[in-house]
């Protein structure tokens, strides 16, 4: 008996069909990977299943019985729980309070039975072999621990189906391994798991079957051991990608950026490196190794405690992002939604934000010039939108990234720092981003790329710096670098 069958699901939004007669099924104790480019309909399908959206037509069967799901509470009652990428816990409450939020066990007198609440919490957590103290506040937990709490919460609902949306996006390698153990245990309990991810390696490691969607339509479903990585990408994208990484080598020019003994107390220590025109320098390391913090120091977002920064041989004083931008340094932050874009402003306004001086006519913004400039970048970078006056909230992850990049191209950046440039971006758009990075390098711009995806660093970078606990443990050249060497350095070893 199938655990879940979704049949001919259709969901229409004004002007667009997000799901077009999509089929999906899930067995007990199965991890079923759901994959597709952004906008392919994965999230919408899962929202329909978890009650966040209501379908226009189609049927959902749970254990062969047709069910009606019109809101999240219906879904919860049926044992369908979704764990979102941005976890949905209340940071100021304790672990136990979060697990039982809204259904706290009560004593006879109507007050909360705290002992029972915490005992039950421990019961669920220990099933997941976790020793998190249920009295701890959620805000003090790591992302990985918060995920465990979400799973425990799901268990407390007697979940039959757990949907995980990019669960490993913010986890370290070790934490991923822990999560996979938990998933294995959930399988042994006959719970079905729908697993959404863009990371090819882990899909094969954790998944049993895969369903591929494209443009709101069902494309393919099969066992994972019957399909190759290339075939998956091909079916997702609907076209051939020559290679996953379009690496190009450019003539290394003169030195653009030199960092000497840069430190910020308790965060990073004595970082020194040089960066040349046309060079792509990667930064690898575990989460918390200090890579993002280093980027923020160079960009002036945080204050350094000591060290020097030279641009084209001249020492520069950078005390704010405004200083950095004036000197031709750009940072594409890890979280483009919170730290990159003004989501309710248009593409045009976001692109020109850092260089309004470039489109001023006297005291006023020259809207005609703004239109010309942004239209040009929009075409160059192939930003897919009906209009440059569209608000950026309506764009996909890849297109949002391009808008931020356009902003930094318009400031005439000489050094561009990408922090996790392809996080949450689908395969097709990733490839585009790599090509855009190549274009920057070709123009003589120097690029730094921070990434947690080793294949991406190995595939694209000329040189990789590996960080561990706030220090650079070593540099690896493109031709010598391997996953093993990076991991040895990243975990504090030497080679």
């Amino acid at each position: 008996m199938l655990l879940l069958r979704m049949s001919q699901i259709t969901k229409k939004y004004p002007g667009v069909t997000a799901l077009d007669n999509v089929d999906f099924e899930l067995e007990r104790g199965e991890v079923h990977v759901l994959i597709g480019e952004n906008g392919a309909g994965k999230s919408t399908l899962m929202k329909v299943l978890s009650g966040a959206e209501v379908k226009n037509s189609g049927k959902i069967f749970l254990e062969d019985k047709e069910v009606s799901i019109s809101n999240p509470i219906d879904a919860q009652k049926l044992g369908i729980v979704m764990i979102y990428q941005e976890l949905n816990l209340v940071p100021q409450l304790s672990v136990g309070e979060n697990i039982f939020l809204g259904r706290e066990p009560k004593k006879k007198n109507g007050l909360i039975d705290w002992n029972k609440l915490y005992d039950e919490s421990i019961k669920y957590l220990s099933k997941l072999s976790s020793d998190i103290n249920p009295k701890k506040k959620v805000e003090t937990l790591s992302v990985a621990e918060q995920q465990i709490v979400e799973v425990a919460k799901a268990l407390s609902y007697n979940a039959k189906i757990i949907i995980m949306d990019e669960p490993t996006a913010a986890l370290t390698t070790k934490e991923v391994a822990e999560l996979f153990k938990v998933i294995k245990w959930l399988k042994s309990q006959n719970i079905g798991i729908i697993y959404i991810s863009h990371r090819m390696e882990e899909i094969y490691e954790v998944g049993d079957r895969i369903t591929i969607l494209r443009d709101g339509k069902f494309v393919h479903c099969c066992k994972l051991n019957e399909i190759t990585r290339e075939e998956i990408i091909h079916k997702m994208v609907g076209r051939e990608l020559d290679k996953e990484f379009p690496k190009k080598f450019f003539q290394k020019g003169r030195e653009i950026l030199r960092v000497e003994n840069l430190s910020r107390k308790g965060v990073i220590e004595n970082i020194s490196f040089s960066l040349y025109q046309g060079e792509l320098l990667g930064f690898s390391g575990l989460v918390g190794a200090g890579r993002t913090e280093l980027a923020r120091l160079i960009f002036g977002a945080d204050k350094k405690s000591s060290g020097k920064i030279y641009l084209e041989g001249k020492e520069v004083e950078i005390n704010s992002p405004a200083d950095a931008i004036k000197n031709g340094i750009a940072l594409l932050t890890e979280d483009r939604n919170k730290q990159g874009l003004i989501l309710d402003m248009s593409i045009a306004q976001n692109v020109t934000l850092s260089n309004l001086a470039g489109i001023m006519k006297g005291l006023f913004i020259d809207k005609k010039k703004e239109k010309d400039v942004v239209t040009e970048y929009s075409n160059d970078l192939n930003i897919r939108t009906p209009s440059i006056y569209q608000i950026t909230r309506n764009l996909s992850g890849g297109n949002r990234q391009k808008v931020v990049l356009a902003r930094w191209l318009f400031t005439n950046s000489k050094v561009v720092i990408f922090d996790e440039p392809t996080r949450g971006i689908d395969v097709g758009a990733k490839y585009e981003i790599y090509n855009l990075i190549n274009n920057l390098l070709e123009k003589g711009i120097a690029v730094i790329m921070i990434s947690s995806e080793l294949p991406e660093l190995l595939g694209m970078c000329d040189k990789i710096a590996v960080m561990h606990q706030g220090k650079i443990k070593g540099f690896l050249d493109h031709k010598d670098a391997t996953q093993e060497k990076i991991m040895i350095l990243a975990t504090g070893g030497t080679i």
């Binding site: 992002p321 931008i325 003004i342 989501l343 006023f364 913004i365």
Partner: protein, 323 residues
């Protein structure tokens, strides 16, 4: 694809303008005096003081801030200005000095609000609540320093000063003219200058704005200073209209000002709002008050009706959030 929310957002101003028109027609039917030029000018005059402050408040609210000290600033500046007018000096010189002093105090108070908000990361609501309390108290205390009794108004201001609040140029009241000028300038600033763009950006996403190279602290302080300046201007005009510096002037002004901005469609969450919307919002309230007065509805009922109007306007905006 244009979502329904965007369409609504785009047409909101037209909807509000249409409703304002309906409101005007409604009162025109009920009172034959309502549509006379004299009454219409009167409405703009009565509304001008609140409308001028609501321009500054619109900017503050777009940055995701709030300033509830405006009522107290109006009283405080009114008292200071009136006090300066009591100095023994040539009359035009003392008027000039009093106005400059009043405006300067407004700028300074705005600066303090902005300073505490940016440097000490205080919630705008709290710091302006502090200012609201302190300044109201000082407004009562200040008359003592100008030779008047504590808590009493400073009265007996020169006739030349009274022109500011009630004088007319080509039949049009001076405050009305000032109000229109300020709205036009603010419209240009918000829609066509760097500064205006930055205000929207900061309200939309403070951290992203900083990382885009905007000197966010400085812009925020400017915004509160502009609000302080416009509030002070309103305070001076009110002192002129009342021909005295009243310590209890401007009570509950902040509520009317915020109401005008909210009816105008600005979001208290920041990033959204428009000068045209605020103008319509302020006029909507002004017409309502004037019309209800003419029809003979008591001020107690007016408060209830005003509250319901704000509720309706904000409900209208919830349509777009749900979409």
């Amino acid at each position: 694809m244009k979502s329904i929310s965007e369409l609504f957002q785009r047409f909101r101003q037209y909807v509000m303008a249409f409703l304002l028109l309906v409101e005007i027609l409604f009162f025109a039917v009920l009172s034959e005096y309502f549509l006379t030029p004299e009454n219409l000018l009167n409405i703009t005059l009565q509304t001008s003081l609140i409308a001028i402050v609501s321009v500054g408040m619109t900017m503050v609210i777009i940055t995701a801030g709030i300033d509830i000290s405006v009522g107290s600033v109006i009283a405080f500046v009114g008292v200071i200005t009136a006090g300066f007018l009591k100095f023994n000096m040539p009359v035009y010189f003392s008027i000039f000095l009093a106005i400059v002093a009043g405006l300067f105090v407004g700028l300074l108070l705005g600066y303090f609000n902005g300073f505490f908000i940016t440097k000490f990361k205080m919630a705008p609501f709290i710091i302006t609540l502090v200012a609201m309390s302190i300044l109201r108290g000082l407004a009562y205390i200040m008359p003592k320093f100008f030779g008047f009794e504590e808590g009493r108004p400073i009265w007996g201001l020169p006739d030349e000063f009274l022109w500011l609040g009630s004088g007319r140029i080509l039949m049009i009241p001076f405050p009305t003219i000032l109000m229109f000028l300020i709205f036009i300038v603010a419209y240009i600033v918000l829609n066509h200058t760097k500064f205006g763009r930055y205000i929207y950006a900061i309200g939309g996403n403070l951290e992203a704005s900083r990382l885009a190279g905007i000197k966010t602290d400085r812009i925020l302080i400017y915004v509160y200073m502009i609000n302080g300046l416009l509030t002070a201007l309103s305070g001076i005009l009110l002192a002129s209209r009342l021909s005295s510096g009243q310590p209890n002037a401007g009570l509950a002004y902040e509520l009317q000002v915020i109401a005008a901005v909210a009816i105008g469609g600005a979001s208290l969450l920041g990033g959204k709002g428009s000068i045209v919307g605020t103008f319509i919002g302020a006029m909507f309230i002004g017409v309502l008050r004037n019309g209800l007065n003419l029809v003979g509805v008591s001020s107690y009922y007016q408060e209830v009706i005003l509250g319901l109007v704000i509720l309706a306007a904000v409900l209208l905006d919830q349509i777009k959030v749900k979409d």
